[in-house]
């Protein structure tokens, strides 16, 4: 076999691997934040509250908050996350004002103010439920580095894949940390302490 042929053969072997790596890199959602890289997460936004009136992020100023993106037809992770935030806030023992819990739908097509309002009322504790026009939701998702994608399900209504982290902000409105669903309550509480102290 000539050198040229060997080279060609090697390239043929390498090409699919390179293509695979490229696909993986491109598929990586933007929510991945690597340490040391200053990334602006959050910022001012305007959405719609569960009362149907405009909600400006200025209303969140001066108090720490935990913000989570999900959808009301989400059976597992969304109620689990909100229930956990409600429980941790109770454990905290500093009242409902110690930090606010904010839920933003990534499914504005099905979740209007009424749906979001009923859903957030489920957790026996004040939860701010927000929706908006598809364009407003897209804008806020971009600001928070949130990924979401509709997934059709055979024989059932569509589901939505979405970023599962809760974003924590201090009273100064600055992003502090995220809580992942697979992190234990101890870690979550320690992070919540960072925004409330």
């Amino acid at each position: 076999m000539s050198l040229k042929r060997i080279r060609l053969l090697l390239w043929l072997l390498v090409a699919p691997v390179a293509a695979g790596i490229a696909v993986l890199l491109l598929r990586q959602p933007v929510s991945q934040v690597s340490a040391g890289e200053p990334v602006a997460i959050g910022g001012p936004f305007s959405l719609t509250g569960s009362n149907g009136r405009p909600f400006s992020s200025a209303k969140l100023a001066g108090k720490p908050f935990a913000i989570f993106f999900g959808f009301t037809h989400c059976p597992d992770i969304c109620p689990t996350t909100l229930a956990r935030l409600a429980r941790l806030r109770r454990q905290f023992g500093h009242g409902d004002d110690s930090f606010r819990i904010v839920f933003v739908t990534v499914d504005p097509q099905r979740d209007g103010p009424q749906e979001v309002g009923r859903y957030t009322a489920l957790f026996d504790t004040p939860v701010i439920g927000l929706t908006g026009s598809p364009a407003q939701i897209e804008q806020v998702k971009k600001q928070f580095g949130v990924f979401s994608q509709k997934v059709e399900q055979p024989g059932a209504e569509y589901s939505v894949d979405h970023t599962a982290a809760t974003f924590l902000f201090g009273a100064d409105g600055k992003f502090v940390a995220t809580i992942a669903p697979d992190e234990g309550d101890g870690v979550a509480l320690a992070k919540l302490k960072r925004i409330t102290s």
Binding site: Q28, P29, S31, Q32, T72, H73, C74, P75, D76, I77, P79, T80, L82, A83, A86, R87, Q114, E115, R118, Y119, A121, L122, F123, D124, T125, F147, V151, Q153, P154, G155, A156, E157, S159, D161, H162, T163, A164, A165, A180, P181, D182
Partner: protein
């Protein structure tokens, strides 16, 4: 001596593997829902005390138009939920837990909202052990 033989017989019985799967289902629960929320997740624990693998092939909950097994999985920070069309394997001797943020029974098309304190009848069908009738307890949404 008689005692000794009885003991031997018992231990032999213990050693010879029981070939059939022996399925027990425990702790079925679901979170309460509100009107307009037509889907929910149910969680439970399946114990296989037998000597061979079984498989949970289908679930039916009359309260929902459809019940199916779903796997939630994290992929680069994104939660993805998919139907498990091949069912859920229950290996010999294993305890398989369906718990929040993981594998669950997805209830779709709830006829009425689930209220805390309710007991929902459900039927689980296993490939070998056949059907098991259970109840799913509805808990407050913020219970756990």
């Amino acid at each position: 001596m008689r005692m000794f033989f009885a003991f031997m017989a018992l231990s032999l019985a213990g050693c010879s593997p029981n070939k059939a799967p022996e399925i027990a289902v425990e702790n079925g629960w679901a979170r309460a829902t509100v009107a307009g929320q037509d889907s929910a997740a149910a969680y439970l624990t399946i114990v296989n005390k037998g000597g061979s693998e079984d498989r949970l092939v289908s679930v039916s909950v009359p309260r929902a138009k459809m019940a199916m097994m779903h796997a939630s999985s994290m992929d680069a920070g994104v939660m993805r939920m998919r139907a498990m069309s091949d069912g859920l394997p229950i290996p010999a001797g294993a305890t398989v837990e369906l718990a929040p943020n993981g594998t669950h029974i997805m209830l779709n098309g709830l006829t009425t909202p689930l209220r805390a304190g309710e007991q929902l009848p459900a039927t689980l069908r296993f490939a070998k052990a056949g059907t098991k009738a259970i109840t799913i307890r509805v808990e407050e949404a913020s219970a756990r």
